[in-house]
């Protein structure tokens, strides 16, 4: 499964909101302007997700692979 997870470095996030603009399919903003990541990133939006990671003004967004489930 090429599922990626968008994770937020919360102390670094300063609620600029650029990520939600670029990737509204996955990210919306709460009442204080901080991102809510709704679901894992599938291959459709992977390129956009990478752009969002690059565009974050404080580099608070990361694309990670989910850890493998223990056997």
């Amino acid at each position: 499964m090429s599922e990626h997870l968008l994770r937020v470095d919360w102390p670094a996030c300063k609620a600029h909101g650029v990520c939600a603009e670029l990737l509204p399919e996955v990210i919306s903003l709460d009442e204080w302007g901080y991102p809510i990541v709704h679901e894992p990133v599938n291959s459709d939006v992977l390129a956009l997700a990478k752009t969002a990671v690059k565009a974050c003004p404080t580099l608070a967004l990361r694309l990670t692979q989910p850890p493998p489930r223990p056997a």
Partner: protein
Amino acid sequence: MTGAAILNGPALWFANRGTGFVLLVLLTLSTMLGVLSTARVTSRLWPRMLTQGLHRNVSLLAVTFLAAHITTAVVDTFVDIRWWNAFVPFSGTYKPLWLGFGSFALDLLLAVTATSLLRHRMSHKPWRAVHVMAYAAWGMGLIHGMKMGTDAATVWGAALNYGCIAAVSVSVLARFGLLAHSRLVTT
């Protein structure tokens, strides 16, 4: 016109002054867009990505004009400006102090540009520390322009200079003054 005529004539000097003023306007615009970024100003017709994209593109355009500005100054034989005077502040023979302001601004802008192109490969805090120096680069470039030539004495030259000062001042005051209360607007 022959090559020698171009080099010995006033064309390069005009090009240098022209690129200088365009550079000032572009850097002023870029600074204002940078301040706008931190203020998180956004509306339905103006997404944050637009501010960010414009800031980046205007800055890159400014860098190309900066290259042209330096090249025309160095290649021009009317004044003796060597290529290293552009990078080493206060090392020139022609108006070394005010030229030096320009060289200093160039060095700062080189650091800002390099770190910004490599932003993802470095951690955020050092990137930001370098990036904030862009304000100083703008200021020093402005002073360099005002003191180097005679254009600052003309009406249009003075209007441009003071207009740019006003534009950046208003942006900064608005951002750190009026909008500073907003709890969302943290630096």
